[in-house]
């Protein structure tokens, strides 16, 4: 489905990604783990076209999409859920969903279905998104990606800054996305949560992929996990 091949990215003068390659297959949930500043968000930005890579290619469904505009990539079915959540605060929940509806790549998802699946959002359908709690906003932005009938969801730290019981809800939502057979590239710092959700994963450290493997393989690699993700250095 998604093939990222040897991308390099710079932020100003500093190189933040070094030859990063990864792939996401059909119906697969793939994790991208790493500490703050490891380059996870930059990787997603490069795929979504927000910040195109300086070298390397991004191929989606056999088509080279490197350097295409953000909106063009989005319309091909790659929906990015950015890390800072960012629904449109001034719009209502329903308006946010209507706006995000995209039937280019299917019609499975629409606003009624989204509100049906996320009852908590349904209750607040006519409230401004800016007035939602952090957890509700996170639900909303995931629902916004779903009504876009995505062929791949890029999910950037959905649990960040959320209270533990809300984290459980979000985990549940990601499971449902997975059950809907939509491929997901999940960026997460919370290792336990991430390993529970993914089929395969990559460990990113200082802009380089240091390790990759199945969820089980990663779970066993306690030394690497500690070194690249924990604080015991």
């Amino acid at each position: 489905m998604l093939e990222v091949d040897g991308i390099n990215a710079r932020y100003g003068d500093s190189q933040v990604l070094w030859d990063v390659s990864l792939s996401v297959g059909d119906g697969e949930v793939v994790g991208l783990l790493g500490r703050n500043g490891a380059g996870k968000t930059t990787t997603l930005s490069a795929i979504a076209g927000v910040q195109p890579p300086s070298t390397g290619t991004v191929t989606f469904d056999g088509k080279d999409i490197t350097g295409q505009s953000v909106s063009a990539i989005s319309r091909q079915g790659i929906k990015l859920v950015p890390e800072d959540r960012r629904p449109f605060d001034g719009l209502t929940v329903r308006e946010n969903l209507e706006l995000s509806t995209d039937t280019t790549n299917g019609e499975d998802w629409d606003v009624p279905r989204a509100l049906g699946e996320f009852t908590q959002l349904d209750e607040r359908a006519n409230q401004r998104a800016g007035d939602l709690s952090g957890g509700e906003q996170q639900m909303l932005v995931i629902a916004m990606a779903l009504v876009g009938n995505p062929r791949l969801v890029l999910l950037d730290e959905p649990m960040e800054g959320l209270a533990p019981q809300i984290v459980d809800q979000i985990v549940d939502i990601v499971r449902r996305v997975r059950e809907a057979n939509i491929p997901v590239l999940l960026v997460e710092q919370n290792v336990d949560v991430c390993l529970e959700l993914i089929d395969r994963g990559y460990l990113l450290h200082k802009g380089e992929i240091r390790m990759s493997g199945s969820a089980a393989e990663l779970a066993d690699a306690t030394e690497e996990i500690d070194r690249y993700l924990g604080i015991r250095v």
């Binding site: 932020y11 100003g12 003068d13 500093s14 190189q15 933040v16 500490r35 703050n36 500043g37 890390e83 800016g130 007035d131 709690s133 952090g134 730290e157 960040e160 800054g161 209270a163 533990p164 019981q165 984290v167 459980d168 985990v171 997460e188 710092q189 919370n190 290792v191 336990d192 949560v193 991430c194 996990i225 500690d226 993700l229 924990g230 604080i231 015991r232 250095v233």
Partner: protein
């Protein structure tokens, strides 16, 4: 000696509590780091201390003086200086001019419209010292926008040091640096602390563990641990904050 003392510091943006009742103290001569996962409120805390944001609740005392409501531009004169996370230099000015600006605007009367800046030998001398200290002398005539990333980060720190601060606030000084550059910066910071306190916001754990005397760990805006690196490394809650661990605990 306690230099900076912040108590009950809170910052709300609308309904969102970015910094939640944080107490933090920095002593003279220590390197104090603030770490935590993304979104923990590190940069917000930093901006509160620097005066870029207004405090919602709590107070900040510096050297015994209440500075909670002191405007940002007056804090340098008490001895507080800051660097930026995203390099924030004068892009179209040369390295020399960047440092000259930082030195002159602090040490000279910046309302002086007549006397030539270039003839202020005391300014030029200080700039030369900074150029040497930060190994930027060869790039003196290079515009900041054309510097390599590491050089720019060091210029950034150099500008923050131009006011001879007693407390230096640095936000991720090694962001985007390679190993060699990071090492140079580490030793630089260690040299600095002989005569001043440094408050670091960092995500590079290895680097934090090397340079810090004290580490404060933030999660969701609140302090979850504080102590020397060794203690922090073994702290269960910190482990959990970094590696996850679900709520069912």
């Amino acid at each position: 000696m306690v230099l900076l003392d912040a108590a009950g510091l809170t910052k709300r943006f609308g309904g969102f509590v970015a910094v939640d009742d944080v107490d933090i103290t920095v002593d003279t001569g220590e390197v104090h780091s603030v770490i935590g996962p993304n979104g923990a409120g590190k940069t917000t805390l930093f901006n509160l201390l620097a005066g870029a944001y207004e405090v919602t609740a709590g107070e900040i005392t510096f050297d015994g003086r209440d500075i909670t409501d002191l405007p940002e531009h007056e804090r340098p004169y008490l001895g507080i200086s800051r660097g930026y996370q995203i390099t924030n230099t004068y892009e179209s000015l040369t390295v020399f001019e960047n440092l000259q600006t930082a030195v002159a605007l602090y040490h000279q009367n910046y309302y002086d419209m007549i006397r030539s800046l270039a003839n202020r030998t005391e300014v030029t001398e200080r700039v030369e010292t900074l150029l040497e200290r930060f190994e930027l002398a060869p790039q003196r005539n290079v515009e900041a926008s054309s510097l390599s990333h590491g050089d720019r980060r060091r210029l950034e720190i150099g500008m923050a040091l131009a006011s001879d601060p007693r407390l230096l606030l640095l936000d991720e000084p090694t962001a985007g640096m390679d190993a060699g550059e990071t090492e140079r910066t580490v030793s630089l910071i260690q040299e600095l602390t002989d005569d001043m306190a440094v408050l670091l916001v960092e995500h590079d754990i290895e680097y934090v563990m090397t340079v810090s005397d004290v580490i404060t760990v933030l999660e969701r805006g609140a302090v979850i641990a504080e102590g020397p690196p060794g203690e922090i490394r073994e702290d269960e809650r910190v482990q959990e904050a970094y590696l996850g661990g679900k709520a069912d605990a």
